[in-house]
C-alpha cells in the first residue's frame, strides 16, 4: 500500500463488487457446469483481491486450489452425478435465518480486530520481529516469506503442498491421458468419437 491509497481502495471496491455479483450468479445458476466455471472465475477474482491486500502467498494458494484442483475435483464429481440441480422444494426460511445469524456473528467478530493496516497491531509488536530476527540469525532462506512458510510453519506448508501436489496429479491425469487399470479399455469408449 505504498502508492496511491485511493486507487487501491477503488480497485478493492471494484473487485468486491464483482465477487458479490459472481456469488449471486452462482447461487442462481441451475446448471452445475456453469457453477464450476463461475467458481473458478470467483477464485481468480479472490486471488486478485488477495494481491491487492498484499497477501501474495494466500493469493497463490487460492488460485491453485480454487482454480486448479477444485475445478478438477468438481468435474470428477459431476461425472458421477447429474449436471442439473433439482428445483428447491422446501422453504428457504431456516437456511436463510442460519446464514444471517452466522454472517452477523462474523461481522460482529471483526469489530474486535485491530484497524486495518495499523502499525501497532499485535502482530507487528512481537510476531513479525521474532520471525525477522530468528531467520537472520539462523541463516534461513533470504526471502522471509519463504523462511516463514518453509521453516517456521513447515508442517502447515506440508499440508498445503500436498494439496498442490494432488493438483499436479490432476494435471498429469488431464494432459497425459491414461492407461486404465491393467491397460484395459472398454470397447464402447470409441463410440461417438468423430474428428472434426
Amino acid at each position: 500500500m505504498i502508492g496511491n491509497p485511493s486507487a487501491e481502495a477503488l480497485v478493492m471496491a471494484a473487485l468486491l463488487t464483482l465477487l458479490a455479483a459472481v456469488t449471486i450468479a452462482i447461487a442462481r445458476q441451475r446448471n452445475m457446469f456453469g457453477v464450476v466455471i463461475m467458481s473458478s472465475i470467483y477464485s481468480f477474482l479472490m486471488a486478485s483481491l488477495m494481491i491487492v491486500l498484499d497477501a501474495v502467498d494466500v493469493a497463490m494458494t487460492e488460485a491453485s486450489v480454487g482454480a486448479g484442483i477444485s475445478t478438477v475435483i468438481l468435474l470428477a464429481t459431476l461425472y458421477l452425478t447429474g449436471s442439473m440441480e433439482y428445483p428447491q422444494r422446501r422453504s428457504v426460511a431456516i437456511p436463510l435465518f442460519v446464514s444471517i445469524v452466522v454472517g452477523a456473528a462474523l461481522v460482529w467478530g471483526t469489530i474486535g480486530l485491530p484497524a486495518f493496516g495499523i502499525a501497532d497491531a499485535p502482530i507487528h509488536q512481537h510476531v513479525a520481529p521474532t520471525y525477522i530476527d530468528f531467520s537472520r540469525k539462523h541463516d534461513m532462506p533470504p526471502n522471509i516469506v519463504t523462511a516463514v512458510l518453509a521453516d517456521f510453519r513447515s508442517f502447515d506448508t506440508l499440508g498445503e503442498t500436498t494439496v498442490v501436489f494432488t493438483a499436479g496429479i490432476g494435471v498429469l491425469l488431464l494432459l497425459q491421458g491414461g492407461w486404465r487399470i491393467g491397460g484395459a479399455r472398454r470397447e464402447d469408449d470409441t463410440q461417438g468419437d468423430d474428428e472434426i
Binding site: 450468479a25 456453469g34 486448479g68 459431476l78 461425472y79
Partner: protein, 97 residues
Amino acid sequence: MFVLATAAVLLALLLAVIRAIRGPTVFDRVLAGNTVGTLAILLLASIGFLTGRPEFLDIGLTYGLLNLIGTFAVLKFFRHGDLAYDVDENKEGKAWK
C-alpha cells in the same frame, strides 16, 4: 499511467464477468473464465507497478498455467465426458502421416 492500465483491466474484467453471468451456453462461460484468468495476470502486473512493488510477478506465470489447466479440464470433460480420456488410445492409425 498505471492507474489508466488498472482501470482498463478492471473495466474489461467487469465486461468479462457480465458475459460469464449472462451465458447463454457453457462455452460462453468457459471463454469468459479464460479471459478473466488472463485479466487476472494483467491486474497482478498493473497493481504491482501501481504500488511500486512489482516483485511478485512469478505468480502471474502460475495463474497462466492454472488458467490453462482449468479451461482444459472443463473442455476435456465436454469433449469426451471423462477426465481420463486419451485420444491416442481410442483412435489407431489416424495419426498425421
